[in-house]
């Protein structure tokens, strides 16, 4: 049987983030308005495989997904050591802006999920004029720790097994098992301490308090979509965020914390109208 090729192309590139050299991998497909997608903590860009294959979206959007440094096929920096990875708000913003500037993207749309759904809020506060629109999936302004994240990185527990186990529960029981398995599999492949290091941003450094009030939706339109089965960033938390910003949120039925990856078919039903508005 002939191989059925997908329209996705992958590339490696080197650029500086905060003055340090990084080798980063990204995938892209389609043409038109740049749509940069940000993956969740401890995973990689494969989460957006369905978007990168969606003909309707690819007609109008150039979908670009990069693996964050230390994730997926992107390298850790020189002199990296196991155990010293900790994602800060500043570094997260820097890597996104460096990638966008490095590819010379003009006024892209940025869509992020989970930690990506949090960082788009920081982007909205700091650089509202740089984006055509921002889309937050599973966005919440802050998250109080509800389990002991030290279990995610300790030498007497297999990191892939425990991170996969955590990710599995964040998905909806109604999502297709094969997509749930693949989503979990990405978590099982993460490096030691990387998921935990990302959660430093999600649960501590990246928490936004009253700063949320600085977001001006008229300067840069923001769209917030949250799956009903997410107990990390719950629909109630997204609603509270949306109320503060003064926008409507979209609650997605039958999906959890990883809509684009755990149940792409369901997710795209909600995303298409949003992208139509943006385009």
């Amino acid at each position: 049987m002939k191989i059925e090729k997908e329209p996705i192309s992958g590339q490696y590139g080197k650029f500086k983030i905060d003055g340090i050299d990084y080798r980063v991998y990204w995938e892209e497909a389609g043409q038109g308005i740049p749509l940069v997608c940000l993956h969740t903590a401890g995973s990689d860009g494969r989460q957006y495989r369905a978007l990168l294959n969606d003909k309707k979206i690819l007609e109008k959007f150039r979908v670009i997904v990069f693996d964050m440094p230390w994730h997926g096929k992107s390298s850790p920096p020189e002199n990296a050591k196991v155990g010293n990875y900790k994602l800060s708000t500043d570094f997260y913003i820097s890597q996104i802006m460096s990638f966008i500037n490095g590819l010379e993207l003009v006024k892209p749309v940025v869509m992020g999920c989970s930690i990506g759904g949090r960082i788009i809020l920081h982007l909205a506060i700091n650089f509202p004029d740089k984006f055509r629109a921002l889309i937050g999936l599973q966005s919440a302004g802050h998250l109080d720790p509800y389990y002991d994240i030290s279990w995610l990185h300790r030498q007497d527990v297999h990191g892939g097994e425990v991170c996969g186990g955590i990710a599995y529960g964040l998905m909806a029981p109604t999502s297709p098992e094969s997509d749930k398995f693949e989503t979990m599999w990405h978590y099982m492949q993460g490096g030691p301490g990387i998921f935990k290091g990302d959660l430093f941003f999600y649960k501590f450094d990246g928490n936004i308090g009253n700063e949320i009030k600085k977001i001006d939706n008229s300067k840069c339109p923001i769209y917030l979509l949250t799956g009903e089965y997410d107990y990390s960033a719950t629909p109630e938390e997204t609603k509270s965020l949306a109320d503060t910003i003064g926008i409507e949120m979209i609650k997605m039925k039958n999906v959890g914390h990883f809509p684009m990856s755990e149940n792409p078919k369901e997710f795209l039903k909600y995303l298409h109208p949003v992208l139509n508005k943006i385009s």
Binding site: Y146, W151, V157, V162, Y168, G169, A172, T174, Y231, S232
Partner: protein, 124 residues
């Protein structure tokens, strides 16, 4: 309520490969009752129903009976579909030496979920 963990079940028999080095005993509490579960090489070997005088176990999962019933539905509602979701809502408590649980987290999630009915019978 949890006695049937010992029954033959295709889903459960496939789980043992995920916990082939796991030997432990844990307690499931519904507040009004307790179930002591013994696991050898990833296989449930015994489930004893309380009350107990001096039970010996490694860790314990405690939630009110109605919360466990919500978890055990064919299609649980959001917040009841996963033990960490229940932890987040503060209706479930993990106690004891959690190493066997956390090092086999997916196994325990799937083991408990294996008690859900195969068919949806308008339960909600």
């Amino acid at each position: 309520m949890f006695k049937s963990l010992i029954d033959d079940n295709e889903k459960r028999s496939q789980l043992s490969i995920m916990a082939q080095y796991l030997n432990t005993s844990f307690m499931i509490s519904t507040i009004e009752n307790e179930y002591l579960v013994n696991i050898e090489k990833g296989v449930v070997k015994n489930v004893e129903e309380g009350p107990f005088v001096m039970p010996s176990y490694v860790f314990k999962l405690t939630a009110p009976k109605d919360e466990w019933l919500k978890f055990l539905k064919h299609t649980p509602q959001p917040g009841s579909h996963d033990i960490i979701a229940m932890l987040r809502r503060k209706v479930l408590k993990f106690e004891g030496d959690l190493h066997p649980l956390m090092s086999h987290l997916l196994y325990f999630k799937l083991l408990l979920a294996s008690l859900r009915p195969v068919e949806n019978k308008n339960e909600n």
